[in-house]
Structure formats: structure tokens, C-alpha cells
């Protein structure tokens, strides 16, 4: 599922009018739930790339939208909410990963494999090839510097450069340099 463009997210939360002040809690809840329905899978995809388990990913997604609810009810700035949502997810994922490192048994990679979509191709040879390509991508992401991996995954989710810049906390120039660097490495990896 493609995430909605940022302006539609902003419209949904009435950035310009500041109308949320007069909203009832139930209205606000419904808006946040609507956003959750649209963003849950992209957020899961993003945080799983940090090596989190699906369970941790779900918890992160829940926390993101609880934070969003608090954010909008406190009348805090609502510009670039799509970037804001991913920023919170990014920070929570880092925090969760840090916590998991203290627990040696927590490892998400096995779970990712377990819930993978079954390959629709009936050809066993194609299935093997597809699995190899997936393994190569995972290995590639694994060796990428964290910042480059985040930029690449966020761009894959459709975020614009300024949004990525606010999520990862780097300049616009650094975002484009990072993406170009990752793609060059990717091309090199495929050439091999």
C-alpha cells in the first residue's frame, strides 16, 4: 500500500485552519485511526528494516499514533506530518532496537522470513532465484551505513527529500548524496 502524499495528510488534520482545537476527542480519534490504517504497513516495513520483530514493529506503530494523538491534541505544529510520523517511528525503532540488544534472544530476522509472502511463481527455479535476490538485498541493506539505509528505505516509501532530511536529521544535500551513493553501490552489487 502506498502512503498518502503529505498534503493529503496535512489536510486531514486541518493544518491551516487549526480547527482541531474545537474537535471532540472522538473525532480526533477517528482521524488518527484513519491515518493509522494508511500508515501502519509503511511504518512496519520501515521499522522492520531496523531488524525489529513484527511484534515490536506493531508496538512501535501503536506508539507512533498515540504520540500523534497527543501531538495534535496539544495543538503542536502540524506541518510536514508525514515526515513527523516517520521521525517518531524512526526514533522509537532505534530505542526498541537498543532495548532488544540487551536481550540476546530477541531477533527479528527469523520472523521476517516467517511471514514473507509466498512466492506466486510456480516455477521452483524462479522461486530460488527470487529468494537469492531477497537475500542479496538484505545483505546489501545490512552493510549499508545506517543513515544511507534509512534514506533509501524512506525514499522507497515515497517520502520527499525534505521529509527524509527531517526524519534522519541531515541536510537536503546529504540526503541526495546518500541516495546517490547507495544506488551506485546497489548497481555495483547487481553488476557482480
Amino acid at each position: 500500500m502506498q502512503i498518502p502524499p503529505t498534503d493529503s495528510v496535512d489536510r486531514l488534520l486541518f493544518v491551516a485552519t487549526g480547527k482541531t482545537a474545537s474537535w471532540k476527542s472522538s473525532e480526533m480519534e477517528e482521524h488518527v485511526i484513519a491515518l493509522y490504517e494508511q500508515f501502519r504497513n509503511p511504518i512496519l516495513r520501515y521499522v522492520l528494516a531496523f531488524g525489529l520483530s513484527l511484534q515490536d514493529g506493531e508496538e512501535v506503530a501503536q506508539e507512533v499514533f498515540l504520540a500523534l494523538f497527543r501531538h495534535v491534541t496539544k495543538e503542536k505544529p502540524r506541518q510536514n506530518l508525514r515526515g513527523w510520523i516517520f521521525s517518531v517511528a524512526h526514533n522509537l525503532a532505534l530505542k526498541q532496537r537498543q532495548a532488544n540488544r540487551r536481550l540476546p534472544d530477541r531477533n527479528g530476522s527469523a520472523e521476517i522470513v516467517a511471514v514473507n509472502k509466498p512466492d506466486p511463481s510456480p516455477d521452483p527455479e524462479e522461486q530460488v532465484l527470487s529468494k537469492e535476490r531477497q537475500a542479496r538485498l538484505l545483505a546489501f541493506l545490512d552493510i549499508l551505513p545506517e543513515q544511507d539505509r534509512c534514506c533509501l528505505c524512506l525514499r522507497a516509501e515515497g517520502l520527499r527529500y525534505r521529509e527524509i532530511s527531517s526524519v534522519v536529521g541531515i541536510s537536503l544535500g546529504a540526503v541526495s548524496a546518500s541516495l546517490a551513493r547507495s544506488l551506485t553501490r546497489l548497481m555495483g552489487a547487481y553488476d557482480r
Partner: protein
């Protein structure tokens, strides 16, 4: 950035392709690409890498996610809780006029008097509650509520089938009502005072947290009483209203009255012999689940079955 008469860098090509260049910069790259096969080939290679990445990314992380219904319901509940807190705490501090402050003081005083009276009343009539060590609900919070129901409807099903599991939201509300925030759920069973099999309602005033770990007057004993009263009512040997009133007033006294004993019958207290395998009360049904699992039932059943008086 792109210089005149120079080939664009990979970064420039990417910025162009992503629509992140200024109009002027984009026009310059477009002109250059129109004239330079080499750069077009590089741009195509970048596009191909993006395409390849997206395809595998989709396969790798485009997982078959678990259904959203459960997590969404959980979020809804958590948002509702956050809203409650917001409504409770969210009022902006306002400067009250002297008159309004005076009124507030009077209200606070009246509230204190009312609370004191309530405590005194509870103390006066609370001997039997204290006698059973909290095994009876607080009569103020849980007086027992019934729903309008025809006897035929109640008796058309087995008692067990009439009883619905209690939702997590309601369970939390019961704990909140009893000021038991932070208490472990697993030590209590949120139970109907008047069971739905006797016309009890799924209402906060008909639910209370019943301690699980008591071997004498435990939930199995109450189950047995409820089964028996249901049976009596359906056989027209007992009036429904009387059964409801007796249970709501003091279910332990009701057990003693109907079973003619001061202590629970041994098989009732153990729960092992008298309970059907499909134990009727099931706690901790996660949101989104519609049916309890066997393991959860077993988990609920086990601690009670192992206790002895």
C-alpha cells in the same frame, strides 16, 4: 551542482529523476540528456537500479501482514483511554472569580460530607463484606444490574451459553472503578455479580474484580450457585427476581441458603469435578479474537483446580 558544458553527476541525475531539482536545473539536465547518450545511459542505469531495488524491496518487506483489525481495535482502546485522560486533565487552568471559588469550596465541602456519610454507611453495613475478606463486591460500585429478559429466552439456552466474555476495555474500567490501576489482571477475575444466565447485564455496575486465589469462596463456587439457580428458575421452582435479589445482596449467603451449608461443598470449591470442560468464564481474550483458545481456558482453570482449602 551541474556546471555548464559538464556532464551531470549521478547525484544530479537522481535529483532530476526524483523531481528535486529547481526548474532551471531540471531544464539544463533535460537539455544535456537530449544531447548526450552517455548520460542517458547512466540515467537509465540509475532508474533500473531503483526499479530493481523497489521490486525486491516489495518482495522482501511487502509482507503478508497480520490483519489490521486486532491492532486497530487495540489502538482505538488506547486512544479512548488517552482521550479520557485528556478530558480529565486537559482543561486549561483558568482564573476563577472569588464567587466561583466560594462555590467550588462549598461543593468540595458537600462532597466531603457525602463521602464521609458513604464511608459511615458502608462501615455500618460492611461487616459481612469484611467477614469474607473482599470476596463480595463493593455494593456501591457493584449493586448488580439486570436487563429486561423473558424467562423463555433465558431458559432456551444452557446457562453457560448465555454468558459472554468480558472485553478488555470493560475489564480495565472495572479495575479503574475499584481503584486497582496497576494490579495484575491475572490475580482477579472480572465477574458478573448477577450472571447473564439470571438476567444480569453487561454493565459496569454489575461487574467486579473477584480474587482468583481463594480456595473457599472462589469463582467456581459462585459458578455452581449460578448453575443451580438457573436450573431452579427454569424449572419454575424459584422466582427469577428472588434469585437476582439474593445473589446481588450477598452471593455467599445465597449459596448457604440454597445449598443448606455454611461452607462450600467440597467438589464445588475444588472446581474439578463439577465444572464442565468448557469453563464458562474466560478472561484475557485479546481484542480481535472472537473465540477463546484452549490454552487460555486451561490457564484460567489450572490455578483454581490446584488449590485446596
Amino acid at each position: 551542482m551541474l556546471k555548464k558544458n559538464l556532464h551531470p553527476s549521478d547525484e544530479d541525475l537522481l535529483l532530476f529523476s526524483d523531481g528535486e531539482l529547481s526548474a532551471r536545473g531540471a531544464a539544463r539536465v533535460r537539455r544535456h540528456l537530449a544531447a548526450c547518450w552517455n548520460c542517458r545511459a547512466r540515467a537509465a542505469k540509475i532508474e533500473a537500479a531503483i526499479g530493481e531495488f523497489m521490486e525486491i524491496h516489495g518482495q522482501t518487506f511487502g509482507l503478508t501482514w497480520p490483519p489490521i483489525a486486532g491492532p486497530r481495535a487495540l489502538l482505538r482502546a488506547r486512544l479512548a483511554e488517552a482521550s479520557l485522560n485528556r478530558d480529565r486533565d486537559g482543561g486549561q487552568p483558568s482564573f476563577l472569580s472569588a464567587k466561583a471559588r466560594g462555590l467550588a469550596y462549598v461543593c468540595a465541602l458537600l462532597l466531603l460530607v457525602a463521602l464521609g456519610t458513604r464511608v459511615l454507611i458502608r462501615h455500618a453495613r460492611g461487616h459481612e463484606t469484611a467477614e469474607y475478606g473482599g470476596l463480595l463486591p463493593n455494593p456501591t460500585l457493584t449493586p448488580g444490574v439486570t436487563r429486561p429478559v423473558a424467562l423463555g429466552d433465558l431458559c432456551s439456552m444452557d446457562h453457560d451459553e448465555v454468558v459472554l466474555p468480558i472485553s478488555d476495555i470493560l475489564r480495565q474500567q472495572v479495575f479503574d472503578e475499584y481503584g486497582m490501576q496497576g494490579e495484575p489482571f491475572e490475580n482477579y477475575e472480572v465477574d458478573y455479580l448477577i450472571t447473564p444466565g439470571l438476567g444480569g447485564s453487561e454493565d459496569l455496575r454489575n461487574l467486579w474484580p473477584q480474587p482468583r486465589y481463594n480456595a473457599t469462596w472462589n469463582s467456581f463456587v459462585k459458578d455452581r450457585l449460578e448453575d443451580y439457580l438457573h436450573q431452579m428458575v427454569c424449572q419454575r421452582k424459584l422466582n427469577l427476581a428472588t434469585a437476582q435479589k439474593d445473589v446481588a445482596r450477598n452471593w455467599i449467603s445465597a449459596y448457604q441458603k440454597y445449598f443448606h451449608t455454611n461452607v462450600p461443598l467440597s467438589q464445588d470449591a475444588s472446581g474439578v469435578q463439577t465444572l464442565p470442560l468448557h469453563v464458562k468464564r474466560v478472561d484475557f481474550i485479546p481484542l480481535g479474537d472472537t473465540r477463546p483458545t484452549r490454552s487460555k481456558l486451561y490457564w484460567t482453570f489450572l490455578p483454581m483446580a490446584s488449590t485446596e482449602d
